[in-house]
Symmetry: C2
Subunit: 422 residues, 2 copies
């Protein structure tokens, strides 16, 4: 990169306008967003993105999973490109920044390069990944998973939402089932700008988060079988109450991270009881356990300890117990040289930074299995995300986009191994 | 009553056949019953009952709430009658005995009187009360409540089920919206034979339960407001997890009866969380509390203690809390002279008996507000009720019907005050 570009900065006001324009498509009365994947609002958001990319003269391509790529050609089209983006779909009644900032930040990078007539050695590609949230079509990160080769395209097309609509049909309905193959191809570097979705940056007064990777993710399902009975006629001493049993287990999960150490988090997010009637002793219960840690083995040991405790609790209450080990993803490390670049770039631009881990999965998790990948985090006000009040300061959005700009620029001007910089 | 009638006994085999015939109408594959109020199966059960009453020559009358009365005239039609019965509707996937035994037992009493050509001074009326369970149309004991004057007829007609069908319309649809007013009228005595629905009689090896009344019933609703957040990115120490908060409260409720004493029971039967998603820290929760005791004041003091504890727990977790005092019914005492008659009759017939309280509400609870009322309980195998495996031994059904027979006979031959026995 020419040293003349060191002073290059994005246009923060324009970035804000892009984010605000996107936030109109699927806005909720509560100030949030409800733009589920492949909904009409998702189509409108995609149309707007495509129109902006076309204004820039980018080459737009839509693949079979609806992923939108906007390519700004480099001097050597044969070299693997630099990829940057995120997703435009949101959680149900979610926020305006999760995902969208990474796409609008990438757009702002392309626009800034154009404003200043910057040529890069490698092409720079913006990408909007389909169905990252997984709220309408499970699982999350569906399209980046297919692109990375971890998930099968036909299986993905056959995923249905709660109303029985198929992913592939809905993709065609909104006009975004493209013809380009959804398949991994070499890239030189991939960066994803994203809100932190947690409170650490704000609490520590830091602008840029530099995740070294994504923690492991272990999901379990626990099923309890007690004895349903009339509440008024069943004495306390003979009860096998599945909800009381589950309540003790929920508190075990809550106390687990403190017992295990290592920055682990453990959560029961879902709990249902049966028959769930106010005058029947609960006869059955189901709940989920989510355990995350950078240390995969610690998370496994934690589950072993928890499971032993669960069985003891169930036995004490005379409840049957069945556990399912539903899903396990190992922790995922980003490319150390790109992580270092994010950190160094923040420092050079005068932003404070904090080394951390990502507690949430991102499209970048799948991208990291294909090529060198890193992320840039900016603070979430109050640490809130996946809710309507999700917010990030406009200055922090701009700071994140500036770090993204200079990371992309640096990677886009790196020659192929054995070549000199052009 | 003539001493020649002391040896009178019901026909246990015929009682069993009646119960088995009724159990065919709405039978479930699991061996239980699914005969919701005003369903087609309820209509068939009513038709069968009416045909049996007509075979006996009883005068059948259906009132505006669908209650079916079958009158066996006494020598003095002007005297208030003896009423005995229960209900033919069942819980969803409930059992074959709850309610039905009280109606078939009453039928067996009428048949036995006919078999032996017994004349009584007072008329004896069998009754099938509509919608006792309240599972399809809330609240429970709807028709006996209207009859007793505690509930309004038009309000009852306007009750809707989960699909929006109105009680009054469904009553007309199945042909049981009768013309007789549903209104209290004097009776000399009322007896209801019912399964215990709890484990005490079986545990103590006793055949006849003699409830002195129905315990008080206090219902509460608790709403918690925490902070929903992404589970992976939200550290444990800053969470306001509404489910963890609710779990601590559930355990408080479980421990309450042991702390308060007095034979109280306390139950959380219903609990729901929001958004109830495995990767979101629960942001809100709702649960119910059901407290029952013979001692109304003890139950109120228990709630005061519980509520203080709830507020402390909510504050510790940073959760908002709102409580609603949803419903309170004071304990309800049966007529001591009739309770004594049930106990003495059991003894005279050679059945063991146990003084107890009813933990569940019954149509008899409303009847007791109008005139002298008592109940006869028989054992529930395993204490199970409101479930498909609900069961009572045939010999115990017969024993209960014999106690009912002799209680009815004794009351039906009692003269009006100031008269001699005829």
């Amino acid at each position: 990169m020419s040293t003349g570009l060191l002073g290059l900065r994005v246009d923060g006001a324009r970035l804000r306008r892009s984010l605000e324009a996107m936030a109109e498509l699927g806005a909720t009365p509560g100030g949030g967003m409800h733009r589920l994947a492949l909904s009409d609002d998702d189509r409108r958001a995609r149309d707007l993105l495509v129109s902006w990319l076309e204004e820039l003269g980018a080459r737009v391509e839509v693949d079979e999973m609806g992923d939108i790529f906007g390519r700004r050609p480099g001097r050597d089209a044969a070299l693997p490109p630099v990829i940057t983006g995120s997703h435009l779909d949101t959680q149900p009644r979610g926020g305006r920044f999760d995902g969208v900032l990474g796409v609008m930040g990438a757009l702002e990078v392309l626009r800034t390069l154009d404003d200043h007539g910057v040529e890069t050695l490698r092409s720079v590609e913006l990408v909007d990944w389909t169905n990252e949230e997984g709220s309408r079509f499970a699982p999350a990160m569906l399209a980046s998973g297919v692109w990375a080769g971890a998930l099968d395209r036909d299986w993905a097309w056959a995923r249905t939402d709660a109303d029985g609509f198929r992913f592939g049909d809905e993709l065609a309905r909104i006009g975004y089932r493209g013809s380009a193959p959804c398949a991994r191809r070499p890239f030189h570097a991939c960066y994803e700008l994203h809100i932190e979705q947690g409170p650490r940056l704000e609490r520590e007064g830091v602008t840029i988060g530099v995740p070294r990777g994504v923690v492991c993710l272990h999901w379990y399902d626990v099923y309890l079988e007690g004895v349903a009975n009339q509440v008024g006629t069943t004495p306390m001493d003979g009860r096998s109450d599945a909800l009381v049993t589950a309540a003790e287990m929920v508190l075990e999960v809550r106390g687990l991270p403190a017992r295990m150490g290592g920055g682990m988090v453990a959560t029961v997010g879902e709990l249902t009881t049966h028959p769930n009637s106010r005058n029947v002793v609960p006869g059955a219960a189901h709940f989920t356990v989510d355990i995350r840690s950078w240390d995969d083995d610690l998370a496994l040991r934690a589950w072993d300890a928890l499971q032993a405790e669960f069985r003891a609790i169930a036995e004490r209450h005379g409840c049957g117990i069945r556990v399912e080990e539903t899903w396990r993803v190992r922790h995922n490390e980003f490319a150390p040289e790109l992580v270092a670049r994010v950190r160094d770039t923040a420092e050079r631009l005068g932003y404070s930074s904090l080394a951390m881990e990502s507690g949430a999965g991102h499209d970048a998790s799948y991208l990291a299995t294909v090529g060198p990948t890193a992320m840039v985090f900016v603070p979430s006000i109050g640490g809130r995300s996946h809710v309507e009040v999700e917010e990030t300061g406009w200055e922090d959005c701009e700071a994140g986009a500036n770090v993204l700009l200079h990371c992309v620029l640096a990677s886009a001007d790196e020659p192929a191994p054995g070549e000199d910089a052009v």
